[in-house]
């Protein structure tokens, strides 16, 4: 029961994924929404690596996880640039109050 196998890793990644979604839908601050997205990407990565290790699929899963990390870095940079622009325009970054594309 407590022997660690594929299931335990999948459960950890599922909990991480659910917490990430919860963070995205409940937080108002845009930076907190970004943190939720990072949690979800980490959960997906754990799944990739777990299936790659336990399913005998070679090393491809780890390489895809590497690509996900790179995409997460690019996404964080672009998103924070957008958030900074929103702050300059609206002087807050609450995602429920920003409903227009320009002032």
């Amino acid at each position: 029961m407590f022997q660690v196998g594929l299931t335990q890793f999948l459960i950890v990644s599922t909990i991480l994924f659910s917490l990430g979604i919860y963070g995205i839908v409940t937080r108002k601050n845009a930076v907190m929404v970004l943190m939720g997205i990072e949690l979800i990407l980490n959960a997906a990565n754990i799944n990739f690596v777990a299936f790659s290790t336990f399913g005998n699929y070679g090393i491809s899963g780890q390489i895809i996880a590497l690509f996900v990390v790179i995409l997460a870095a690019a996404e964080a940079a672009i998103a924070l640039a957008i958030v900074l622009n929103i702050y300059k325009t609206f002087t807050n970054v609450n995602v429920d109050e920003i409903d227009s594309l320009k002032e």
Partner: protein, 165 residues
């Protein structure tokens, strides 16, 4: 319970506990620092899965890059008077119910699916294999990601640049 199992549960506890703090803490700075422990916990899980190179990448890119970027985002988008930078929340109860249903659905699918498990022995180091795969089978994606990072760099700089007065 072997030593491996104890270490796994330790890292899983660190990861999930700090991720819980990230999504429930009302103080954004506390959330950002909890995210640090989440990333370290995920790196530990990668090590337990035999992905040593990916664990180092996780620490260098996430902790050294993305987390610092997020902290800059927090600091630049709030009028800083103290460490108390708070965030509002919306739809707490409906979100909790919906996420509970989603979590139950995913967990039941994962537990009831008969996964094809054929574990291979964990190789001593994956770095050489990853490098070889990157320049043979995945060379197109590798180059495209290089282009993507360049585009993201230019795009982020031009979006965040202050307009000339």
């Amino acid at each position: 319970m072997e030593f491996y199992d104890i270490i796994f549960y330790l890292f899983a506890l660190i990861t999930i506990g700090s991720a819980f703090v990230v999504v429930t803490s009302r103080n954004i700075v506390y959330a950002a620092f909890s995210l640090l422990f989440t990333f370290f916990g995920v790196a530990g899980i990668y090590v337990l899965l035999g992905a040593d190179f990916l664990a180092i990448v996780q620490i260098m890119v996430y902790v050294g890059g993305i987390l610092i970027l997020l902290l800059f985002g927090v600091m630049l988008t709030n009028k800083i008077t103290s460490v108390e930078i708070r965030t509002g929340t919306v739809h707490l109860l409906p979100a909790a119910i919906g996420i509970g249903i989603l979590f139950g659905a995913i967990i039941s699918v994962m537990l009831w699916t008969n996964w094809n498990i054929s574990p291979e022995p964990i190789p001593p180091s994956t770095t050489a294999n990853i490098g070889r795969e990157l320049i043979t089978n995945y060379v197109l994606i590798f180059e495209l990601l290089g282009m993507l990072l360049l585009i993201a760099l230019i795009g982020a700089a031009s979006i965040a640049r202050r307009d000339k007065e």
